[in-house]
Amino acid sequence: MTALVALACASAENATDRSTEFRVALLTPGPVSDQSWNSAAYSGLERIRDTLGAEISHIQTRTPAEFEENFRQYGAKGYALVIGHGFEYQDAAQRVAPEYPKTTYVTTGGTGVGPNIAALSFAFNEPSYLAGMAAAAVSKTGILGTIGGTALPPVAASFTAFEAGARAVRPDIKVLGAFIGNWDDAGAGKEQALAQIARRADVIFQNADAAGLGVFQAVRESKGVWVIGANADQNALAPSVTLGSVVIDLPLAFALVAQEVRSGTFAPRVVRFDTATGVVRWVPNPGIAVISASMLARLDSTRILFAEHRFLLPPGMMP
C-alpha cells in the first residue's frame, strides 16, 4: 500500500509544486490511457500546462452526479477553466456555472452556452468522409466496417459521413455497422471486429476509445484487413495495418481556448473547429503506400473543398 501511494506521489508532484494563479481542470469520461478520446484530451491539458504555465488537475468521472460534484469542487477552488470532455457534461455545466461566475466551463461537444459556459464543436464528420473515401479505394471485398463504443450523436454522425465518403468513391460499397455497448471492453471490441472480418469486411473504422484497442488487436491478427483510428493519431498503434486516423487535435484546440481564457478575451460561444482550422484532419499512415496517387489527389482536393467551405455535409452527418 505504501509503495502504491509513493508511486502515486511521483505523479502528484507536477500538479502541486506549481503555484501559478491560472488553474485548469479536465474531467474525462474514461481512462486517459485509451490512446484515443481521453488520452488526447489529457495531452491537451499537459499542453496548457507547458505553454501557459497553468496548474492542472484531472479527474476521471463516471456518472452525471460525479460530473456535477466535481464541476462544483473546481468552481469552489477558483479554477479559471474547467473542461468537461464530452457533450454529456453540458447539463452539469448549465447547472453549476451560474454558481461560480469566475470559472469558465467548457464542454467538448454539446451546444450549451451561457455567460461562463462554452462548447467546443468539432467537424469530425469532414475527415471521417475522407477516411471513407480512402477506405473504399483500398477495399478489395467492397465491404467496410464501423465499430463504435455506444451510439453517441457525434460518433453516429461520423459513421454516416464515413459511409457517404465511401459511396462517393464506390457507389456499390457495403458498410457493416456495430456498437460495442461500452467504451472500455477491449475484448468485446475485438469480438466485434472479428465478426465483421468474418463477414469479409476489409477496412474497419473504429471509434471506441479503450475498447477500440481490441479492434486493433483483431486486425493485427487477421490478413489483408486495414483499420482506421479515431480521435488521436493512432497510426503508431499498429503501423503495418493502420490505413490512417481521423484526428481531432485536442491539444491544439484546448491550447487555443485556454489562451483566450487566460488573456481575458474569451467570449462564451460554440467554438467550431472544422477542416479550415486544422484541428480536425485525416492523417494517413505515412508508413504504408496502398492509396494510389490519383486517389491521394482526389482526397486532397476534397479536403480543400471542406477547408474553403465549398463542400458542406448534410445535417444528418452533423454531430
Binding site: 502504491l4 456518472t63 447539463d91
Partner: protein, 320 residues
C-alpha cells in the same frame, strides 16, 4: 507527498461542510438505499444480485412519472416519483422472485441477467420514449423544478433521498428485530427447511415478499438519484451502485443500522478518492486500486475479529 495524498482523501470526505454534506452523504444515499435492499434480501436467504437493474428501473419509472406529471406541485410529483420508482424496482425483482417460486430458478443467475436487460432497456428509453425533445442526445429532458427533491440543508446538496434512507433503515431494523413477520424472515433465511417444518413458516411466500421489498428499496434509490441529484435520466446514471451495495451490506453484516454507517463509510471513501485525483494528482487507476484495497482490508479486518472472538469462546469452553 504521502501526507498530501492522505490529506486530500480526508479533506474530500470530511474536510469541509460542503465535502461532508454535498459529497460524502450525497454519494452515501444511493448506497444506503441499495445496501438496505441487499441486506434485507440476504437476511431472508434471497441472494439478490440484481439491485443494479432494480435501481435502473426505478430511475426510469421516476423519470417517466415526473415527465408525465409535468408542472404539477411537488407535493404530488415527489411522492409519485418515489412510489413509481419503488413499484418498478419491485416489479423487476418480481420477475426473478416469480421465476424462483414458480420453477426454482436460482435468483443469483436470474437477477444478474436481468441487470443486463435493465441496462439495455435504459439505453433504449433514453433514445426512444424518454429522449429529450431535440432527439440528439441519449438522455431525457430535465424534470420540472417542482419535481426536484428538496435539499435538507440550506446551501448543501444533501436531499430528501437521504432522509428516506435513514427512515427505511430504522423501519427495516425494527421490522426484522421486533416483529413476528420479521422473525419469520430471519428464520427463513437461517434455515429454510427448519423454518418450514418446525416453525410452520411459509418460506416460499415469505421470501417472495422480501424479494419484492428488496426490489422496492433499490428502485427507490433510482428514483432518489433522478429526483435528488441528476434531475434527468442518463445512460450512465449508476456506476454500479447495485454491486457496491453488496459490499456495503456485507460490511454491515446485514444489520440495517450498520448499513447506514457502512454506506457513509463508502460514500466518504468515494468522495475522498475523487479528491485524491483532483487535488493530489493521483491517477484514476491507482485511486481505484487504493479504494479496492481499503474495502478488502476492512472486510478482512472484521472477519478476523470475528474469528478471534470465536477462538476465544472455544478456548474458554474447552477450559471449562
Amino acid at each position: 507527498m504521502l501526507m498530501d495524498v492522505l490529506a486530500a482523501l480526508w479533506d474530500g470526505a470530511f474536510g469541509s461542510a460542503a465535502a461532508f454534506w454535498s459529497a460524502t452523504l450525497v454519494r452515501a444515499t444511493p448506497l444506503m438505499l441499495v445496501g438496505l435492499a441487499v441486506a434485507v434480501a440476504f437476511r431472508a436467504g434471497v441472494v439478490n444480485i440484481g439491485a443494479e437493474g432494480q435501481l435502473v428501473l426505478g430511475a426510469i419509472a421516476a423519470t417517466a412519472v415526473a415527465q408525465w406529471l409535468g408542472a404539477a406541485p411537488g407535493i404530488i410529483t415527489i411522492p409519485a416519483m418515489a412510489l413509481g420508482g419503488m413499484a418498478a424496482g419491485a416489479a423487476w425483482a418480481g420477475i426473478a422472485a416469480w421465476l424462483r417460486r414458480r420453477s426454482g430458478v436460482l435468483e443469483v443467475i436470474s437477477t444478474l441477467l436481468l441487470n443486463f436487460i435493465a441496462l439495455a432497456l435504459l439505453s433504449w428509453v433514453v433514445r426512444g420514449p424518454l429522449q429529450e425533445p431535440t432527439g440528439i442526445y441519449p438522455q431525457s429532458s430535465t424534470i420540472a423544478a417542482g419535481a426536484h427533491w428538496p435539499f435538507l440543508l440550506e446551501g448543501q446538496r444533501l436531499h430528501l433521498g437521504f432522509a428516506f434512507g435513514l427512515s427505511l433503515a430504522a423501519a427495516s431494523w425494527y421490522w426484522l428485530a421486533h416483529t413476528a413477520s420479521g422473525f419469520r424472515v430471519r428464520v427463513a433465511g437461517a434455515g429454510a427447511r427448519a423454518a418450514a417444518s418446525a416453525g410452520g413458516v411459509d418460506v416460499a411466500r415469505t421470501t417472495f415478499g422480501v424479494f419484492l421489498i428488496s426490489g422496492a428499496c433499490a428502485g427507490l434509490a433510482g428514483a432518489s438519484e433522478v429526483g435528488g441529484v441528476t434531475w434527468a435520466l442518463y445512460e450512465g446514471i449508476s456506476p454500479g451502485y447495485g454491486y457496491t451495495a453488496i459490499a456495503v451490506a456485507l460490511l454491515a453484516r446485514l444489520d440495517p443500522r450498520w448499513v447506514v454507517v457502512s454506506a457513509i463509510f463508502f460514500g466518504a471513501l468515494e468522495a475522498g478518492a475523487a479528491a485524491m485525483q483532483r487535488d493530489a494528482g493521483v491517477p484514476a487507476v491507482l485511486v481505484q486500486v487504493f479504494v479496492a484495497l481499503v474495502i478488502l482490508g476492512v472486510l478482512a479486518g472484521t472477519q478476523l475479529r470475528d474469528w478471534r472472538r470465536e477462538q476465544r469462546l472455544v478456548a474458554r469452553a474447552e477450559a471449562a
